[in-house]
Symmetry: D2
Subunit: 391 residues, 4 copies
């Protein structure tokens, strides 16, 4: 395998802004690190908080030029859209309910958007945002970061290449334990907005992490959901959103699956796991050991395919930076989406087409994710009846 | 931990017979080995096949005295019931549809029955067998062998002792891959009867191994099922029974769960796994590494409790034979049920009561297991509607 | 793979006696269980303790006939040697210093000996015992039990079959932690004799468990040791024997190796592990997960070979009892040596030859093991100089 | 644990140059990525190859300004040393034999040096470089990158805090398999210089990766080596340097250890592993799963400490960027050394002292590493005699 992931040619670094991600925000810093790893971006502007004072303080702390620090996203979109060397792309790392209003402003000005998942908190907004992306000349990239891991790309390539035969079963799970107690009652910021319907939307853990598991299941298996039956539960008293979700899945073409997401399962940190089984073989991948992919051709011994090692192919190689045996992880997975986006943005500058190997989640993928949450909520409200997606 | 499992006092070994388990039968040999490990039994009589010729040949091959080799179970029950030194207990290791007719004959003669799982192939038969067991002076022991593993006993003890707090979630899975292709079409005996409704009953993989997973979930969690919603599927064309089962569970008291059993998941041999999560902690156990139990008290590092090692208690110690670090396994788990049965049988000889620490699955447990399969089939037939158990 | 390990034909069960192994002894019970698993033996006589009173009490507790309970091994050898239906084989499960005197009495009377490891406590005794075995018409079987594991047989078969190419490296380790503190000072019986040179011999942990690791290394690799350089250490104050051993190995033909045994490594229960690397591939096996063998053909993905699963061959199959995915363990490994011995003993009854597939450690293997300990002690006494074996 | 690792305050980014690391070089790109992750550096100058043409082409490809691209390191040191905004620090990522001549030029001009390991190829050069570092006003940082992993910091903190008691045993191993065949004969660049004494020095695999294992052992245990006995071997015919090393270690104060490094062990990618055992507990860490640390307090269950999870402390927290459960890896470990260096360099700007929590390997550490290789070679040449370090 040729490792071809890194790309440091700095000629023409992309001018990047950010909305959200001020002091204390976790995911904003992740996006900034990811944008630097392959050196495709130059971070030059931001509206980094919903509070103007914090937005300005955060911008200063991060070393932005004073005139590129904005008190709010609207002002930023307007001015950057007019500047000759205004930002070409913006990262949106706000709570879910702001994704649509922020993205709309930039998309309509032709500024590319890199947006944290889920697409939006509600299905109507998701439809509007998907339409805004369709109508814009700019690109829209949704950071379903697990699709950026080399061995996830490898798994997808193996399924597409027929190495598993016809897919029969898809099992995805994403258990965590950090909300086992009522953490939101302590003022913890992350717990606060993630359990608040006004900022998160209709899904609690199904929206926050269930969408990751579902996106990953579809990304690797290549399947389209037909219907689902869901049982959402809230175990912690007084919490207004689900903290555990059990879902049975039926895919078009006959495959079946199960999905479990939980934030109340002690002993699980971020135990995202995907298992796919077909007529000819099975695959297993776990996010906490992301450089390993288990593959069993039916009737043969189980094999360990490692990132960059024997059996690892092109799709993994182009998003790898270092040789096998050295662990790459979460930040590199994120960086891979930023780099894919950079490839597409650089191509868009000149009107070039990008090859099919450039892969990133789009607004359409995000719409399906929000429709998935919506379907889970509807099914659960109807005592687990099977429902389809309204995407 | 005191290791007190082994008991070789041979005074008064229990006279044991067997129905089924002739040449080529896998589970019969397992039962015989299990009965010898702690030396509580003397195997002296058998009706080892449904074909008289094979029954006789098998009896000779196993060294039974000629007059204790029977051509059929009925003849055996009648004569052994009259002999002064007739068998005190019988192991039933036939296909499922014979469990009830065979057990009935021995139970009504006061001969203890040790019967392979599931209890029966159909719910009406299960109810009759449960009644026959209730009405008999003899003991009925169902070999849900996974309940015999030391670390399963340990897990049950920890849940009962409150170390997990109130239980919220129970996840059980039992995937295999041996029926990924139509093995039953090749004349393979095991595949043949397990995919045949006439001999297996209404459930395919849900009856064969799903019942193990369900039994284990209830045994460890101590919970009672309220209702379930099931999606049974047959992936291999022409197979008359399910080869994959997805089930969502609701327990009395509010706990929720998922259960997956499959015989078409390449890369899985006997990957039975149980995970239980409560308000105060979580437990994980996998049958393929049975001497290990993972325990996470919420907010503390995950701990590895090993059979006989630090943190392992009385319930595990009394079914352990060797020190920590040396693996005990499947045969020992089976032997533990035989030894528990021996303790109960020896006590019954003298009318003594046995202590609460003597634990084995009963006909009532088996009835619940068959009712579980029945409920899965009913739910699946109604497109996954929630149904209760008719036990 | 055909699973052909079990053999229950009881015609002609072998009459077995035991020396040592009374109440509270761990390894005696293990030998008795192992002898019962495949039903080749009938345990009928014993001198179960060095104290006549305990010997008699233990014999009664185990249900021996009164006239087959002996106060000492000499009386037992004399009488059993004369009885028409005297024992055909004896298990010796005493501390090391008694192996030679006991074995000699039975060997010279033509009674087969199954003896616990190491062969003896000292090299001169080992040479005498090896000679006694050579001079006797009876068989001598040394229970280096790890050679009885199916996947160890599999590994040996793969090496012999050239699947690893020419062997370059052999790494064996056997760390434990139970003697981290001065347990022998508490009166604990196992710790007492194992740290006592009078009963254990010249080696402490190198004799107790280092010999297991060394035997396993040779058994699988098929290599013969040329020389070694050892660094034995006693970490617990006042302990007269080594509790940790570091050894570098040079084999005939150029292969090199390392061996580590320890009883003071917290977190290790019985972490015996073997790794063998050749020009074409590598193998890894760990006793705590004995049903798994890792095999990497150089330049290909690592493969998991499971007991009875795909890739597992004849040598493993003939010592397996149950299908893949169900764990077999320590007792079954022990039982496999008893069954191999039974095959040889039954053949010896009629003068038949046994096939090359019947494999068990002999007195010669035991002599090499004791010579290994002796060499380690000599090398360590000379500050780690390279020394050869005086076998 | 507060996660405090990331630091993006860009005011005053450090001006960085690089020697070596042109097109096709693996480790140069790693250093550049590492320098960008926390945004402390601005890469502005380079002499990126020993061939002027390649040096210039590589500089252009990486987007350096034309007048900061140098044909050789000497010209770069001279001019950058004079420029008002010349580089403040230089990364040296050449083959080993160039480390000293390059570093000397920058150190004597007061430019901080960040140098790849090992310090040099030979002991005399190592001593000269250590002296040059001592004599310079500039900092010298050696990228023993494994010391940058959060859980390695955690392990070191636990040992220092007495949680293992007095250390008795240190086991370090670093097996690889990429040189199992004579890869250097194919023109592969990495294999070429690593097996060439002129460019690598006196040690082959012991110098390339054995030094990593040794550095890690000392870093975590806090011990100082007293003497060692080594057995270096070359398995691949015609290779002038060792490709396998077995070493026994004696530390000051009585602890013992073993070290194994190999490049001919099929199935091992970069299987660096460290195990440390003391009177009160044991620790185990494996580089391929770097976010996990196993800790066993003697007599208690083994515990899994995860990066950022329960039980993880300050030393790990300050070099972590993301929450527990998300894997950080190799690049982040490297970045942590760059960030530690940045903290020291920024403090040096103003003459501030840095706290004891700022930890990075120095030239003295590097000197010990080269002395270790030298001692291994000397011991092996004397048939494994015990020798001390000439550091």
């Amino acid at each position: 395998m040729a490792i071809t992931g890194r790309n440091e040619e700095r000629t023409g670094r992309i001018r990047l802004g950010m909305v959200g991600g001020g002091n204390d925000a976790f995911i904003g810093a992740v996006h900034r690190i990811a944008s630097r790893i392959d050196d495709h971006y130059e971070f030059i502007a931001g509206a980094l908080s919903s509070t103007p004072e914090k937005a300005i303080a955060s911008g200063k702390a991060l070393g932005l030029e004073e005139d590129r620090i904005y008190p709010d996203f609207k002002a930023m979109a307007v001015r950057e859209g007019r500047l000759k060397s205004g930002i070409e792309a913006v990262s949106i790392v706000t709570p879910n309910h702001m994704h649509y209003p922020v993205a709309r402003e930039f998309l309509k000005r032709g500024i590319h958007v890199i947006c944290d998942k889920p697409l939006t908190g509600t299905l109507p907004e998701a439809k509007k945002l998907a339409k805004a992306a369709r109508d814009s000349s700019a690109l829209f990239v949704l950071t379903h970061n697990y699709t950026g891991y080399p061995m996830v790309r490898q798994a997808r390539e193996m399924v597409a290449g027929g190495e598993l035969g016809k897919i029969r079963l898809v099992h995805a799970e994403y258990p965590q334990d950090w909300l086992t107690d009522a953490l939101e009652g302590t003022g913890q910021k992350q717990a606060g907005w993630r359990t608040d319907p006004a900022r998160s939307g209709a899904g609690g853990c199904i929206g926050d992490i269930g969408t990751h598991a579902f996106n990953l299941a579809c990304f690797v298996s290549g399947l389209t959901l037909d219907s689902l039956a869901a049982d959402l539960t809230t175990f912690v008293e007084g919490r207004p959103l689900d903290d555990n979700a059990h879902v049975m899945l039926r895919f078009e073409g006959g495959a079946r699956g199960m999905l479990w997401s939980s934030q109340v399962a002690p002993g699980n940190e971020n135990a995202l796991k995907l298992r796919v089984y077909g007529t000819k073989g099975g695959l297993e991948w776990a996010q906490e050991h992301p450089n390993h992919l288990w593959f069993t051709p039916f009737g043969e011994p189980k094999r360990l395919i490692t990132r960059g090692g024997a059996g690892s192919g092109e799709a993994a190689g182009r998003v790898s930076r270092i040789p096998p045996g050295h662990p790459e992880g979460y930040l590199e997975g994120f960086a891979n989406l930023y780099t894919e986006a950079a490839r597409a943005i650089l191509a868009a500058r000149t009107g070039e087409a990008v090859g099919a190997e450039v892969v990133y989640p789009t607004a359409e993928d995000g719409l399906i994710g929000v429709a998935f949450v919506d379907a889970c909520v509807r099914s659960s409200a109807r005592n687990g009846a099977w429902v389809g997606l309204n995407a």
